[in-house]
Each structure stands twice: as C-alpha cells, then as structure tokens.
Amino acid sequence: MLKRFVASAIAVATLLTVPSPGRAQTAQPAPAPRHDISGIWDPANGRGDGIMGTGAKAMPEDGKPEHQLPYTPLGLATLALHKPGNGARMVHPSEINDPEVVSCDPQGLPRENLYELRTTQILQTPLSVVILYEFDKIWRVIWADGRELEKEHPEPRWFGYSVGKWEDDYTFVVQTNGTDERTWLDKAGRPHSEDLVMTERFHRVSQDRLEWTVIIDDPKMYTKTWVALDKFPMKLLPPTTDVREMLCSNTEFKAYHKAMEFLDPDAK
C-alpha cells in the first residue's frame, strides 16, 4: 500500500514538474511600448531585492575587493565620518549617524534609488516624467521637454534637478545634479558631493519589464564613474495596484527609538 502511494505521489510530482510539449512553449512577453516607461513597478526578484541595506546593489559594502569604490582622499575621509548600521563598517545603533536613520531626514538622491527601492509608480506628461516612490512617499519630477540640464543651480536640493531624454524608443536617460551633500549616497554611508552627476537609464525591455541603471559620477569623491545599480529588474504591476504608505512620522519614530533604546549608548 505504501509503495503504491509513493509511486502515485512520484507520478503526480513528475506531471507537475516536467513540462509537457504544449506547456514547454512559454508565452513571449508583449513588446515594450514606444517612449513609455509609465506604470506601477515592483522589484522583479521580490520586494526584498530593492532594500539594499548593505549599500548600492551593484557595489555593496561587503568587504570584497571587487566592491571597493574608487575613492579620492576626500571621499575616503568623508566615508570615515559616516557611521552606518549596515554593511562591513556597521556600528552599534547608538553610534549610527545616518541622517535618515537618526533624524528622519529625507534620503534625497541618489539614495532614494539605492535604499528601500520598493513599489514605484511612474507617470508621464507631455513635458515630464514623474516618479512616485513608496518609501517616504516621495515624488520627483524629471523634465523631458527638451531642456538641457543646468550646470549651476541657485541652491542644492535633497532630490536635485533632473532632466531626461529618450535615447531610443525604449530607453529614457536621466541626468541629475544639484543634490544636497548632507545626504548619504546609500545605506552603507558612501558619500557624495554637490558636484555629483547621477545618470539613470530606464530601459523598457518589454511591456511588463523595466531595467533601472544608476551611474555615479562625482570627481570630488570618486576617481572614476561607477555603476551603483545595474539593470535592476522591475516588473509591471496591475494599474489598479494600491501602493502602500510608508512615511517617517516623528511621533512613531520617537516612540520606536524610546522603546528599543537604540539611541542609548548604555544599551550596547
């Protein structure tokens, strides 16, 4: 009886796991629409893929030589001042000086792309592309009206100034400068200066797939450009998706820190 049960179970499992000739033909994804990256997108490999707690996904702060960034002396000195809670240089929570973690400060750019990249809604108008981030419920406007990115700005901004252009029918390339150097580049505490120019490439591979690349160019902090996010895959969600709210409330923030005693140096 047991042998017969096992044989049946194996047969059923085989039917479920071995594709039939008909099942082997996977449907081709619908082609990408022209000049359109709009939609509600989620990290394709799971929501955890966009968290990047140890730093930019393509170059995490994990101690591996291949992930060592090309710091300038100023970059190294600034890095040393940043005490992150994650990665190879992580410190006890009472020593963290990450402005987002200890003060609820805006992440700014590029970090909004490099930490807690969650469900992301992209809207397009004739003049601009607007990105709505779930984390911090942040929005940003990328001008796409043919203007050039100004080299100088009256003031730095947490999220800088962004201009985008279509490189081809399916690739929207964005440049951002004028960011506020008080922000960290990622959760691992990598620095950036006000001279940073961030290039983003949004490449729509198909109807339901978008690849997001982030390139860092900051000669004050790094001796050469480097890729922080490399074709990060995003999948299209239904247009009726209700994006969750994720805000840093000072009331909740204080209650949490008090309860967990994370800012208490005696709690080590």
Binding site: R47, M90, S206, E245, M246, S249, Y256, A259
Partner: protein
C-alpha cells in the same frame, strides 16, 4: 534521522534556505544572532514606522515580571507577511521567538510569534521566484 517524518525535514530545511529577513533600518550590530523563545502576555502592539514593536510581560526564572519589547519590520513588510494592526492585542498569550540585544536587556527582534490558538505570525517571507529576464 529515520524516525523524523521526511515532510517535517523538508519544511524545516526549506524555511532555513528560503526565508528572507527584511530588517535593515538599524542593522544587525545590536543583536545576538542566537534565537530565544519567551512566553508572555501582550501589553501593547504598536503599528508604525520605521518598525512595529510588541511589548509583552513574562516571568523570569525567579518568577519576577520582565517587561519585554521586540520589533518587527515596518507595516508595509508586515502586511506582506499576513500581519495587521489587529494581529496582537493586550492580553494575548504569546510565545515569542526572537533575537535579543547583546546587552542582555529584554529587547528583541521578532522572528516568530505563536498565539494561544496555535496561529503562527512569522517575520520572514519566501523570496519571489527568480526571473530570467
């Protein structure tokens, strides 16, 4: 080994292999990686950012009441794991498995809570299948 039902082994191994913790905000430096399990009674459950946290009372070896607090991830992540603002209420009897801070204080990071009716609330989630694109 042969006395352990294979299904249980697969479930346990599977959980060990695929579970994805999502705590990153304050990092891991404060916590001992070892798990401890404590039985107690919920006194408060806060649903908020950057992390939800539960307070519960438990007796120590001498019978004295210890006031515990243990965090989960944020509400957005917890919704993915089947938790809600109503998942825990004062008076609930709970068995909490967690990592606790290295200082030895009654502060922890929840891995799993088992309610009196046997319902399990977990803070981990299997990852989405990898894509080839």
């Amino acid at each position: 080994m042969k006395d352990i039902p294979a299904s249980i082994v697969f479930v346990v191994v599977g959980l060990l292999v695929v579970s994805v913790p999502l705590f990153a905000h304050h990092g891991n430096a404060a916590f001992d990686p070892a798990s401890v399990t404590v039985k107690g009674t919920v006194t408060d459950w806060t649903w908020g950012n950057p992390h939800c946290f539960v307070k519960f009372d438990a007796k120590d070896d001498q019978g004295a009441i210890v006031h515990w607090v243990a965090e989960t991830s944020n509400p957005s992540d917890m919704v993915d794991r089947g938790w809600t603002k109503q998942s825990l209420k004062p008076g609930y009897e709970v068995t909490v498995t967690m990592q606790i801070v290295k200082s030895g204080k009654p502060i922890g990071r929840v891995q799993r809570i088992v309610l009196a009716d046997g319902k399990v609330l977990s803070t981990t989630l299997p990852p989405a299948p990898k894509t080839n694109q």
